[in-house]
């Protein structure tokens, strides 16, 4: 079966609702299907990647550490919209560092997260076959 390009667009903050958490479950399951996977974090979706999330006090499951596993699942095309970060007073340093080992470059550790402009993101959206928005 031909491989398709899947794009997961994440626009919701974590914890206030389960969409972000259940979206990540789709990405993890989808990784087993050997399709080409891209993740985009836009609007409040950028909050999903915030460092130091501690859900002990609210008693919710903290799924943020699971993002670190994405590299092992060959999910390493992760785009964060620059405009969304800026509006929220955030920068890439506020986000969980996500990396992968590049098998085509002697397993060098590389950054999975790319902060991109709206225009670049618009191009990425146009290149997909299947778009899922949670």
């Amino acid at each position: 079966m031909a491989s398709k390009k899947f794009l997961y667009i994440n626009r919701r903050p974590p914890h206030g609702s389960i969409y972000a958490h259940e979206s990540l479950e789709v990405v993890l399951i989808g990784a087993a299907f050997e399709q080409d996977v891209t993740l985009a974090f836009i609007d409040d979706g950028v909050y999903q990647l915030m460092q130091n999330q501690d859900t002990g006090g609210v008693g919710l499951k903290n799924f943020a550490p699971t993002f670190r596993a994405l590299g092992d699942y060959d999910v390493n095309q992760i785009y964060v919209e620059q405009e969304s970060l800026e509006l929220r007073g955030l920068s890439k340093d506020d986000l969980i560092p996500l990396t992968y080992e590049d098998e085509d470059d002697d397993w060098a550790e590389k950054d999975s997260i790319h902060v991109v402009s709206s225009a670049e993101l618009a191009d990425i959206i146009e290149q997909q076959d299947v778009i899922l928005n949670f």
């Binding site: 914890h15 206030g16 609702s17 389960i18 609210v58 008693g59 919710l60 499951k61």
Partner: protein, 130 residues
């Protein structure tokens, strides 16, 4: 002080039920009286006994049931909202000709009047929702 609590969203999908639960626990810790917890809109879905969450996650329905039992808290699901969404007790199921019911221990089905009554009885009414 007398409190009434309104929960407008179902379990897991929105944080509303969690926030309401933690607030209710804190009310009990502070010695306040709870007139009633009223579940409306998708909030009625909190009353299912068929939920099977992952083992490392909280069981929202059971947690409410336990609170009702331990502290004698009244948990009311709005009947009209519950019927639409498929939450039935034994009586409702029989009346509707359904072969089973799915309501959890400690929850009762009643009318919207119980929400207004809670607003009248309580010193404070607080709503949690989407």
């Amino acid at each position: 002080m007398k409190f009434a609590i309104l929960v407008n969203e179902g379990p897991y999908t929105h944080q509303a039920s969690d926030s309401a639960y933690h607030f209710t626990e804190a009310l009990l810790r502070a010695g306040h009286e709870i007139v009633r917890v009223f579940f409306y809109h998708d909030g009625v879905n909190n009353g299912t006994r068929l939920s099977v969450p992952p083992q490392d996650d909280r069981n929202i329905s059971e947690r409410w049931s336990a609170l009702a039992q331990q502290h004698d808290v009244e948990l009311i699901l709005c009947v009209a909202a519950a019927q639409r969404r498929g939450l039935l007790d034994d009586d409702e199921a029989k009346r509707a000709g359904k072969d089973s019911n799915n309501i959890a221990e400690g929850f009762q089905i009643s009318g919207l009047g119980q929400l207004i009554d809670a607003g009248i009885q309580a010193d404070r009414l607080i709503a949690f929702g989407d």
